[in-house]
Homo-oligomer: 634 residues x 2
């Protein structure tokens, strides 16, 4: 018997249910103030001592009795005798008994070896820091449930508090499950999945104030999972089981939690994150997280962070929201709350955002994301150019400096990103792999700063210009050469099929892996097909698409394709062979507004820097002979 369908509980309802059912009981510990930054006080902290603990001079000068200085003036200088009338005092020094004011060193003049002269009277308590001016004994220095910041530590120490009572970090057990799962550093075989989720989850939990412990990986067997959860319940305040939370043949988390305690909920109406289990055992919260990384991290944030915040008595952190213009249409399904990772950049006066892949298995979409678009369950999505609010993963001030690179992707764009960031830490390049045609269109719509393009025109035998003229007839843009690069066949080591010409692919019915529509490499392939008098039908795998050179090489390396068209560095990355076919021109198309910016200047500086050019050419397959040249000037 296995349960096949999950519930579709709205996320907020699920959270409310969970928070009502479970609670991490608070416990405290006493730690040194010096080690307490980021920790949360369990109760208000009252000052034990005052700071200063005595009346202290606030200036370098002399301590006096104000009353004995009355009457001093320009016309009537007053002579003060040492010990009786005054004594020297430094900032912070204790005011001697019976003195009640300080006169600044600048305002006194030596009269003879011992006495000094003043021209102005002192007012009582001038330039004196009274007892308790900073902290006064008995006052509350910090409230209960206060996350300690650096200056708080100073006030606590000033108030005579060296140790502080804080909430203990809740102990969280992270139990990775799955018979195919191996520790992340182990050697991988087909079918083995490295457990990187536990590390990410532990890292989030650390940030949120918990004390995570990654437990040994448990195989997909109910008995093993049960044993692991039971053992964790002895020690930990919260148990997280990773994977096995869905409704497949090997998904046992539900059964185990139900046996040991109670499942409150199985299935949230979200994408990603749906196969989440919320339950308890021994009155401790037990959560089954999905195995897909993005699902797991989202679900963790939705259900574990609020539990920890409540334990710590802290408000749930809210990400800043900001309106952005959508570069693409985004479709969503009614009844499902969708979470879409977005890249963001500031183009021509507006924040442009584009969706990253929605795949729940794509960790890189979390790495690359600048923000998160939350599509409510009652929405069918948004149109291109619509303005929507997104949650920001990075501060707006940084996103403002994001350069959006659309179009064809090349490793050089990443290297440019590195070099740019080195010269100005504010500047990042964010790439959307849209292909050359997509890049030109994005520049046309004001959705990108620059685009890599390498579009061969069989009619003119030239690259790029004719396409740009046709696609953006009325738009002022700038075309700058970045590189010439070698395209060729990416084939297994030793080129076992002896591939040379495109005809070889058709004749030998070799499994081919193609690039997506609009990619320059696909257009090149189509041109080669046409020249050879062949058509798509003659190529096995023509319809199978990948979006990058590296993914083409990966398919060949994995043996699921025998050949692909791509660039040398991709073949090298997978230790494959490369059969050079044609050198193509790869240009950067810059929007007019970007072309005149400081960042574009930096970019052109780097491209024309001989050191940078050498770094590129050393990778092989590139010539930087015209790099940085304006295309009209070629």
């Amino acid at each position: 018997m296995r349960k096949v369908y999950l519930s579709n509980t709205p996320r907020k309802e699920a959270l409310e249910l969970f928070l009502n059912k479970v609670e991490i009981p608070r416990s405290m510990e006493i730690i040194a103030v010096a080690e307490s930054t980021g920790r949360v006080t369990s109760e208000p902290v009252f000052a034990r001592l005052s700071m200063p603990g005595y009346h202290a001079a606030a200036m370098d000068g002399i301590a006096v009795r104000a009353e004995s200085t009355f009457g001093a003036s320009d016309q009537n200088p007053l002579i003060l005798k040492p010990e009786d009338d005054y004594c020297y005092i430094n900032t912070g020094g204790p005011l001697p008994a019976d003195f009640n004011a300080v006169i600044k060193i600048e305002d006194i003049q030596p009269f003879d070896d011992e006495s000094v002269e003043i021209l102005n009277p002192a007012t009582p308590w001038q330039h004196v820091r009274a007892v308790g001016e900073d902290v006064v004994a008995g006052e509350i220095i910090v409230q209960a449930k206060h996350r300690l910041k650096p200056p708080d530590l100073g006030a606590l120490l000033a108030g005579g508090i060296s140790e502080v009572r804080v909430l203990k970090k809740p102990k969280v057990a992270i139990i990775p499950s799955g018979s195919e799962v191996i520790e992340p550093g182990r050697e991988r075989k087909p079918g083995s999945v490295p457990d990187f989720n536990s590390t990410v989850i532990a890292s989030y939990l650390h940030e949120w104030g918990a004390e995570p412990e990654i437990m040994p990986i448990v195989p997909d067997e109910p008995a093993n999972i049960r044993t692991a959860v039971t053992a964790a319940l002895e020690i930990h305040d919260l148990i997280i089981v990773i994977a096995g939370s869905s409704a497949g043949a090997k998904d046992f988390t539900f059964t185990v939690i139900e046996e040991l305690g109670e499942v409150f909920l199985h299935g949230v109406a979200t994408r990603p994150g749906k196969p989440t289990i919320l339950g308890q055992a021994n009155n401790k919260p037990v959560i089954g997280l999905p195995g897909y990384p993005v699902s797991a991290y989202m679900s963790l944030e939705w259900f574990v962070q609020p539990l920890l915040c409540r334990y710590l008595g802290l408000p749930l952190p809210q990400r800043e929201k900001h309106p952005v213009t959508l570069g693409r249409r985004i479709i969503s399904e009614i009844g499902v709350e969708e979470f879409i990772r977005m890249t963001v950049g500031y183009v021509d006066g507006r924040y442009m955002a584009n969706p990253l892949t929605r795949g729940a298995g794509v960790t890189m979409s979390m790495v690359r994301a600048d923000g998160l678009l939350v599509i409510p369950p009652n929405s069918l999505g948004f149109e291109q150019d619509e303005t929507v609010d997104i949650e920001l993963y990075r501060p707006l001030s940084e996103l403002r400096c994001n350069l959006l690179a659309a179009g064809s992707h090349d490793l050089i764009i990443d290297l440019l990103g590195t070099a740019l960031k080195e010269r100005d830490p504010q500047v990042n390049i964010t790439s959307s792999h849209l292909g050359s045609m997509g890049g030109i269109a994005a520049i046309g719509r004001g959705q990108a700063h620059l685009a890599g393009v390498h579009l061969f025109d069989p009619d003119t035998k030239e690259y790029n210009q004719s396409y740009i003229r046709k696609m953006l007839p009325d738009k002022k843009t700038h075309l700058v050469n970045l590189t010439y690069r070698m395209q060729g066949w990416i084939v297994p080591r030793g080129n076992p099929e002896g591939i040379n010409r495109i005809e070889d692919l058709a004749e030998k019915k070799l499994a081919f892996i193609n690039r997506q529509k609009g990619a320059g490499t696909r257009i090149l392939f189509d041109h080669l097909l046409q020249e050879a008098g062949l058509s798509a039908k003659d190529i096995y795998g023509y319809e199978r698409e990948e979006h990058t050179h590296l993914n083409i090489a990966a398919a060949v390396a994995a043996g699921t394709a025998r050949v692909g068209l791509g660039i040398l560095p991709a073949a090298k990355a997978f230790d494959l062979d490369f059969v050079p076919l044609i050198e193509e021109r790869y240009d950067l198309l810059l929007s007019d507004s970007f072309y005149t910016s400081k960042e574009a200047n930096l970019l052109l500086d780097i491209i024309t820097d001989p050191l940078f050019q050498k770094q590129v050419e050393d990778m092989g397959g590139y010539s930087m002979r015209d790099a940085g040249k304006n295309i009209d000037g070629l």
Copy 2:
């Protein structure tokens, strides 16, 4: 010979000068990815392996050859035989060689013990996660100078990276100086100053990615300081000397840095923070920070954080800015850039901000601050009710829930804050100690949510109402009793002067410590004076003012006053004696808009909670017999 005047270099100019003169050379280290959150990559990290490393099922179901399923339909079900035609596969499992698609478990039906039936064809590569779908070998996972976040760790591990090259944390020596300075936990004597600055500075440096080391405290002797700096130069990348940075008789930091290297600058045109020294020795940056805590922390942020950010290749974090309305006039001096710590709350649709004390020695102003007002050097300040931008120390979403308590302060207000936060972690109470009159005025101007008032009217022999009617004739407000509390003489233990009546103060010429104008306690004192037929002139120390009961008690405890008027808990905090004089009514005045809010409801709930009332009465000197009663209903 000593240098008496400091330069007045604008802060930005000083920073530019400093950054041009010094640099922390970059060095790297290799650490485990699992330990790398928050660290900064020294170079781009390229994936070594692809994730997945094989074609993997994206669903539970069966693996098939898509081509052999073509033609399946409702009318024409297709029977698949095990092994030849299909095999069962779980999510994440490797697709067997020669299979190229997955059919979901929900879309198949058992036909007999072995075979299954399908009603729809599969398309090639459906429900298959291709090699490298998440991370593809050779791609850049994270750029150089990237601060690693939790999901980055997952992508690195997925890409076969277990160790990552990061920038070493710069080693910073913190040298506390001053012959009067003692370690913060040590017993204090008059004149000894606990070194809490080092702990705060170390805590900031930790947050900013450095590795601070607090060195032993060095006395104010050039030779000792020189030795300490010289030793630190051997090991550390950056040296910070705390205190001795001004131009006093015992300020030797300047001389030492000049001897060992070079002083670029002594004196910044800021308040606080002016006595800052920027220099170098052995080509390593050496900074002399002011001894006053607020000055030191500000100067650290201005000059050390940018140096560390540049080292790490990170943009300097910018605090969010937001417009606020000023509750008070703020005066500034031309030529000086002023930094004023502010409290902020959201009252009647606008963010109201009030300045905290400007004293550079008041650490508590940093603890309490919600934001920072930066007054440029060319400004004379701002008028009350003017709208200005301030930098936020806490997110706006939290400030929105700050309750501004103006007026007279009582410890119960702090206890209310604790209890409120316990019930709703969003809610904080921020107190301005304005005195009862100041509190009524603040409610009148829409600058506070609530105000503590205890104003005795000699004419009506009643509390508060007559004052409110007079000061706010047209404003709808609500007056709710908080407590009755005992006011009395705060005197040294044993009441050596036998103080009982106000006449005792006059007759014995005892040093008195008064409250500020507008405080209910001062008005009470004036009333007692008048009743006794005395005047201000008869009281020695009448003009010496403090703003809180605790500060009154502190003055008595320190022996600089022999008597003050105040409440019992203040006397108890300093182990002083208390001579009860009069029980007074202490009410809360609530603005009309606040009175109907959720937060006010919570507040009244707490005030009328018997547990809370018991907690208050247990402190002594309070009666909660009418707590929460509307004054009209008394």
